[in-house]
Amino acid sequence: MAYPANLKYTKEHEWIDLETGQVGITDHAQESLGDIVFVELPKPGAEVAAGKSFGTVESVKAVSDLFAPVSGTVTAINDTLTTAPEQVNKDPHGAWMITLKVKDPKEAAKLLSAADYEKFVAEEAGH
């Protein structure tokens, strides 16, 4: 699956759409996790800090933290994922988890482009 060029990425395998503020996990992330059966998200209004956990995603086998790509305020959560977490496997770059109101646009400068993220994933796999 190609990584959409309009999204920015983290080395912890999240993506953010800086236009809409939507945040999700990457195709690589869902593939490594396997069948996703549980998503736990913060409440709207919650403050999140860049690099800090804002929720949890669980596959049958594993529990993983979700890390905020940038700091900000949660303005919406994707409730459909609580009943249909498998959407994250089916459409990882469409199945957004939270929407963030970005606190400091300068933080976004540290995020990876689609091409850089793809390179990062390939390097990680090479280890």
Binding site: E12, H13, E14, I25, T26, A29, E31, S32, G34, D35, V37, F38, E40, T56, V57, E58, S59, V60, K61, A62, V63, S64, D65, L66, F67, T82, E124
Partner: protein, 387 residues
């Protein structure tokens, strides 16, 4: 997303390692073995992955490489006496061609490992043991059988062990063997030609809660590969999937089968684990390692017991999470927990005090600092309908 480090380097490999990689399996370190956890690519155009693999075994058939399991051969004029001394079930009740679930115990009645004892011949037994405990188990068996006229052999590297499991398993395997599988009852075994391999051990055993077979073929990579693909080809029209250790774990959990290091360990006794019916304190069984302590514990009673939980609140209980009472007091611990793919519920096994183990009772599981409600339910969570 946090990424767990994948250990590599000195992992042991089964004869089918290259086949798993060729099939796109996701590999993990399991008890020091490089094993497939799931096959996301599926097979024959059917999607794979843990959930699909689990469902294939419940509704059709699945194929597992379980060659990491260990095998101990016990042979000699006093083989029965030696087996009786080191295991808790009554091996004297085994007919030739019969197998039984049992366990090797430490003197306090706790577990060295659980085992399946096969009676191969008049004075010959085969014990199938767990992967992570192979060396420990073998050393324990050899050490404790030394006063008997009985050879103890580590036969673990001799076999590729394949498990063919599910309601259509017999149909698939019957096409590949001259042995009449309808004559092999549950927990019995036979020998027959399988995929042109003569005298292959075929046991009607498994770790999934379904009907199924485990076959033991030579651990030669070329032979193992040929048989692996012949089984898959034969099972194609019946919906077979290659299955990894992920599905193996969720299948055994739905069926409440114990996993060493979780429900049983060197710290948990037979009565606590609820494995009473596989432990014989009869005169016919005689003395065995652990018996005296178990007799004492039977009189004194136990302080914790294994129960099944079904989550009421949102969340999945995982191994090591705390179990709390209604007042928030710590009363026990989760040993295994997962989303159950066939039951479509979040289930778990836990140790709690007997006074708080009543079916229908409510407890809480501490998940990331939150108390999430769970109900104590009858086990096994899943039981197959028997013909």
């Amino acid at each position: 997303m946090s990424k767990s480090a994948e250990a590599t380097g000195t992992l042991r490999k089964t004869a089918l390692n290259a086949v798993h990689r060729q099939m796109g399996a996701r590999m993990v370190d399991f008890g020091g073995w490089d094993m497939p956890v799931e096959y996301p690519a599926g097979f024959d155009g059917r999607p794979g992955g843990l959930i699909q693999e689990h469902l294939a075994v419940r509704t059709a058939v699945g194929l597992f490489d379980v060659s990491h399991m260990g095998d101990i051969g016990m042979d000699g004029p006093q083989a029965l006496a030696a087996v009786q001394h080191i295991t808790m079930n009554d091996a004297s009740r085994l007919a030739l061609g019969q197998a039984q679930y049992s366990a090797m115990l430490y003197p306090p009645g706790t577990f060295v490992d659980d085992v399946i004892v096969h009676r191969m011949d008049e004075h010959s037994y085969l014990l199938v043991i767990n992967a992570g405990t192979r060396e420990k188990d073998f050393n324990w068996a050899r050490e404790n059988a030394r006063n008997f006229e009985c050879q103890v052999e580590d036969a673990g590297d001799n076999f590729t062990q394949l498990a063919i499991q599910g309601p259509r398993a017999a149909e698939v395997l019957q096409k590949l063997t001259d042995a009449d599988l309808s004559k092999v009852k549950n927990y019995w075994f036979t020998h027959g030609t399988v995929c042109r391999l003569k005298e292959t051990l075929i046991a009607r055993t498994g770790y999934t809660g379904e009907d199924g077979f485990e076959i033991y073929i030579p651990s030669d990579p070329a032979i193992s590969r040929r048989v692996w693909f012949e089984v898959l080809e034969t099972g194609k029209e019946l919906g077979i999937l290659p299955c990894g250790l992920g599905a193996r774990n969720t299948l055994r959990l739905e069926s409440k089968m114990a996993l060493y290091g979780h429900e049983i360990s060197d710290d948990i006794t037979v009565w606590e684990a609820g494995l009473d019916r596989f432990c014989k304190l009869t005169p016919q069984k005689g003395s065995f390692i652990g018996r005296a302590a178990l007799e004492r514990q039977k009189a004194e009673g136990i302080t914790r017991t294994l129960v099944g939980l079904e989550m009421i609140g949102r969340g999945i209980a995982r191994d090591g999470y705390k179990v709390l009472d209604q007042a928030g007091k710590d009363i026990g611990v989760i040993t295994s927990g997962s989303y159950a793919p066939f039951l479509k519920k979040n289930i778990a096994l836990a140790y709690v005090p007997p006074a708080q183990s009543a079916i229908g009772g409510t407890v809480a599981v501490e998940i990331r600092g939150q108390a999430v409600e769970a109900r104590i339910v009858p086990t096994p969570f899943y039981k197959r309908a028997r013909a």
